[in-house]
């Protein structure tokens, strides 16, 4: 059969009756769409305004939109095969916008893509190319969902099958026109098949996860940006996400945007180790709440719709937020639910309560006397920061009080002395507030942040270096709410910059590097610690590394809470690290370090040695006595 010019755009062959039928059906379809979409839109718009929302920087928003929505880069990068299939469907939808308008216009004799004009013909073939891609893509996605069935997609969803079928029919009925004689019943049947499919599809969108078609471009464009950006509490009656009245427009928009792809759950360390937490269900819980109770309800968010237990199992590793293709920011929601529970006293946990009391009355999360830190500083003759040194070396709770953390600090000190870089430690330091920030205790967090900011200001500190990615993140980002902190960097950045001045370690030992969540996903630092590792041996990668690194289990204040349900996250990760055959596990965070200390020991004989990158860098230095 020869290819004829596409005739779907052929005007003037429809009867008056057909026009009226079309008008009636289109009106019904649009009405049904609106009846379903209207309440959703109302729920979003009636949610509380985001007090800290700024459209600026607009450049970042435009870029995110182009990169994540138009180019589908995140979808493709994190899951290439399914991602490309999805991208074809998406791009076809964009290309089809004009075709569809033209398609509906033809029944009134006002089609604007004239098949006899070059432009019209070009566009028809252009759309056809996308239609082929889309048909193949959607068929592929259908096979994946119904035959391959990755477990993260959850139970089989027949509505997904229906939608896939509808999209497939839309493409086939469009493409079919290329093989039909210009006039005749076949052509007319195709037109109607295409039209009816379209009108049927429209009202299905708002009641299924395909609502993301409409919402997610907005969600991506309007997202808070940054990573795990926890909004400031607004006013005297804001205690976090307690009830519907606390859901903001962004949270509601995100809840309705979820496409239920399960990437968040697939990468969730808590979910992987048999805990209740399922980040996808957290988002769907909020959505169900909005549907049932609405955004003005006083019904608690934690209870029937989301479990408090699950909310407090999150390590805040951020894999969910990092993976989400539709711009959902899980961490502000999960931490928001915790804030709601902690700020109102609804969360009762023996270990959590102990941590809070230790920080209410003392200075560190370990609950030790500040004199212990003084002794450590004194015993190792660490200079006190007096404003003349270049760096303020921030010890943190782990560096100041934990035996292993202290070893890391001393290794860094050894390197800094070798390099001739001047530094000093503060006479007094309080916990940065990281664990209480993530657990949702705003009162304590504010007290700790303000006290520390005051100390740093009084000490005229300009530059800080720290061995702890949690301290770095909290000082740099989370304290912003209460004042400007000095510049801070993680010791991996400091060490990488000075590697040239250190003699490489002549070793061929295999070292597997474990990316700390708060250094990688939170700060985007992946290369610097690897440079340090490569300086000390042969770098090998774990199956999950870089931005897909798997948490050690300590974040989100969980290092201070009690026994875990299911397998320990640290054990799952330690097994993976040991299985690489590496002789050394390179860590860059004292919390990861403390978790792996036991977890690697539990791997039994031949388990790799555990060293921080500071210790790896210090290996090449002459013995301590020579300094």
């Amino acid at each position: 059969m020869t290819l004829l010019p596409p005739t779907l755009a052929e005007p003037g062959r429809f009867s008056e009756t057909e026009r009226w039928i079309f008008i009636a059906l289109a009106a019904a379809s649009l009405t049904l769409f609106w009846l379903r979409f209207g309440p959703i839109l109302a729920n979003i718009l009636q949610s509380k305004k985001d007090a800290d929302f700024h459209l600026r920087p607009i450049g970042r928003r435009v870029w995110d939109f182009v990169w994540e929505v138009m180019l589908q880069a995140k979808v493709i990068r994190q899951r290439p095969l399914a991602g490309v299939a999805h991208a074809f469907v998406f791009w076809a939808f964009c290309a089809f916008a004009m075709v569809t308008l033209n398609h509906c216009a033809t029944i009134f004799g006002s089609g604007f893509l004239n098949p006899r004009s070059t432009a019209g013909r070009f566009y028809d073939y252009f759309a056809a190319a996308f239609a082929v891609g889309c048909a193949l893509g959607i068929a592929g996605l259908f096979v994946r969902r119904f035959l391959v069935r990755p477990k993260w997609l959850g139970a089989l969803s027949w509505e997904s099958g229906l939608i896939a079928l509808l999209i497939f029919v839309l493409m086939v009925t469009y493409l079919g026109a290329f093989f039909m004689p210009n006039s005749g019943a076949g052509m007319r049947a195709l037109w109607w098949a295409h039209t009816l499919t379209l009108l049927y599809l429209l009202p299905v969108i708002p009641e299924t996860k395909h609502l993301h078609l409409v919402l997610s471009p907005f969600t991506v464009f309007l997202s808070r940006g940054g990573f795990s950006r926890i909004p400031p509490l607004a006013g005297d009656e804001d205690f976090g996400l307690v009830a519907g009245k606390d859901l903001t427009q962004l949270v509601s928009l995100q809840a309705y945007s979820c496409v239920e792809c399960g990437r968040c759950t697939e990468h969730c360390p808590a979910n992987h180790t048999g805990k209740t937490l399922n980040p996808k269900q957290v988002i769907l819980g909020v959505r169900a709440y909005l549907n049932d109770c609405g955004p003005e309800s006083a019904e608690p968010l934690l209870g029937k719709y989301n479990s408090q237990e699950a909310a407090f199992q999150c390590t805040t590793c951020g894999a969910c937020e990092f993976q989400c293709p539709v711009g959902i920011e899980h961490l502000p929601i999960i931490v928001g639910l915790r804030r709601g529970a902690v700020n109102t006293g609804a969360w009762e946990d023996e270990h959590g309560g102990k941590l809070f009391l230790a920080l209410e009355r003392g200075s560190n999360a370990l609950g030790l006397s500040a004199a212990e830190r003084d002794k450590f500083v004194e015993k190792n003759a660490l200079p006190i920061f007096d404003g003349t040194q270049e760096y303020c070396l921030w010890l943190g709770c782990m560096g100041g009080y934990d035996p292993k953390g202290r070893e890391i600090v001393l290794a860094l000190v050894q390197v800094m002395r070798r390099l001739g870089v001047s530094f000093g430690v503060l006479r007094k330091e309080k916990c940065t507030g990281d664990p209480v920030r993530r657990l949702g205790n705003d009162l304590l967090f504010q007290q700790l942040a303000e006290a520390n900011l005051e100390t740093l200001k009084r000490g005229q500190v300009k530059k800080i270096v720290s061995i702890c990615p949690h301290c770095v993140r909290t000082i740099q980002e989370d304290w912003k709410e209460f004042g400007a902190a000095p510049r801070i960097e993680h010791h991996s950045e400091f060490l990488a910059r000075h590697l040239g001045q250190l003699t490489p370690v002549q070793s061929q030992k295999k070292i597997v590097f474990h990316d700390p969540c708060y250094l990688g996903r939170y700060r985007g630092v992946y290369d610097e610690p690897r440079a340090v590792v490569s300086h000390a041996g042969r770098l090998v990668e774990a199956p999950r590394s870089g931005e897909r690194s798997f948490c050690c289990g300590a974040g989100g204040g969980l290092a201070f809470l009690g026994e875990e349900k299911g397998e320990r996250v640290s054990h799952a990760r330690a097994r993976e690290l040991a299985a690489t055959g590496a002789e050394i596990v390179g860590a860059a965070c004292p919390f990861c370090n403390t978790m792996f200390r036991d977890a690697l020991a539990a791997q039994g004989r031949g388990a790799p040695e555990l060293l921080d990158i500071a210790q790896l860098a210090a290996q090449g230095l002459p013995a301590k006595s020579a300094i």
Partner: protein
């Protein structure tokens, strides 16, 4: 049940303590203060009784301006009202002098129970509570771990030596001094702090109460303890040494 809780503000546990120039007290400048821990347990016990039986919890504290923060903290944790006896010389008074101030406040409230910490973390006299009871002519019990309502008044669990406990009943009104660790303390919440802003705190000048401030106990000198190290070798087999170590950790160092 109406409960008055007497609370003291003491230097924070990690505060660097220096002796004042006159050698009679500690240098107060730059010190951070906190709620006396046994008093925090007394407050917790009172709040739990209120949650169980209903009623009102009133906190009383004597001291300078800064004492207001512990009253606020207590209100944030759930106390209903505050009573601040303002006086800059309170730290210089002996236990009887302070008890006289507190007793006037208690008399004004005529509660069913008066709770206070067993002792203070700074001077640790352990007398103020029982003197208040004596001044008011009320029955009292010390070293209390648990309180519950009974027919006669209250039934309490007292801690005795060597892991023994005693259970006794007292008629109310009564004064109880509370031992640390009998229950779990609650943490302060943002909501509590915000709600506390609207709660009533009555302030009375200590000088206006017309109580005798003359001390019966004179403080001669304050000294920091001398640093000393002493090493003990525990003899015997590993098993014996371990047993001896556990014994020491339990009863001498009291960390087990």
């Amino acid at each position: 049940m109406k409960i008055v809780v007497a609370i003291k503000q003491v230097p924070e546990r990690d505060a660097p303590v220096r002796i004042a120039a006159n050698g009679k007290w500690i240098e107060e400048t730059d010190l951070q203060y906190a709620m006396n821990e046994p008093d925090a347990y007394a407050l917790e016990e009172a709040l739990q009784l209120k949650e169980k039986y209903g009623g009102e919890v009133v906190v009383v504290s004597a001291g300078p301006e800064r004492v207001g923060t512990v009253i606020r903290e207590a209100l944030a944790k759930g106390a209903d009202r505050g009573f601040h006896i303002v006086g800059d010389d309170v730290a210089g008074r002996d236990a009887l002098g302070v008890a006289r101030l507190l007793a006037t406040a208690v008399r004004a409230e005529s509660p069913d129970l008066v709770l206070t910490g067993l002792q203070s973390e700074d001077v640790g006299m352990g007398q103020t509570g029982v003197i208040v009871a004596a001044l008011l002519g009320l029955p009292h019990a010390t070293l209390i771990l648990q309180v519950e309502k009974s027919q006669a008044g209250v039934k309490v669990k007292r801690e005795l030596e060597e892991g023994w406990f005693q259970s006794i009943e007292l008629p109310t009104p009564a004064v109880l001094t509370i031992q640390s660790g009998g229950t779990k303390l609650r943490y302060a919440t943002l909501m509590g702090i915000k709600r506390a802003k609207t709660k009533e705190v009555r302030t009375v000048k200590a000088a206006d109460l017309g109580v005798d401030a003359a001390p019966v106990v004179a403080l001669e000198e304050m000294k920091l303890p001398k640093k000393q190290k002493s090493t003990q070798i525990l003899p015997g087999s590993a098993k014996e040494a371990a047993a001896a170590l556990v014994e020491k950790l339990k009863f001498e160092v009291r960390v087990l």
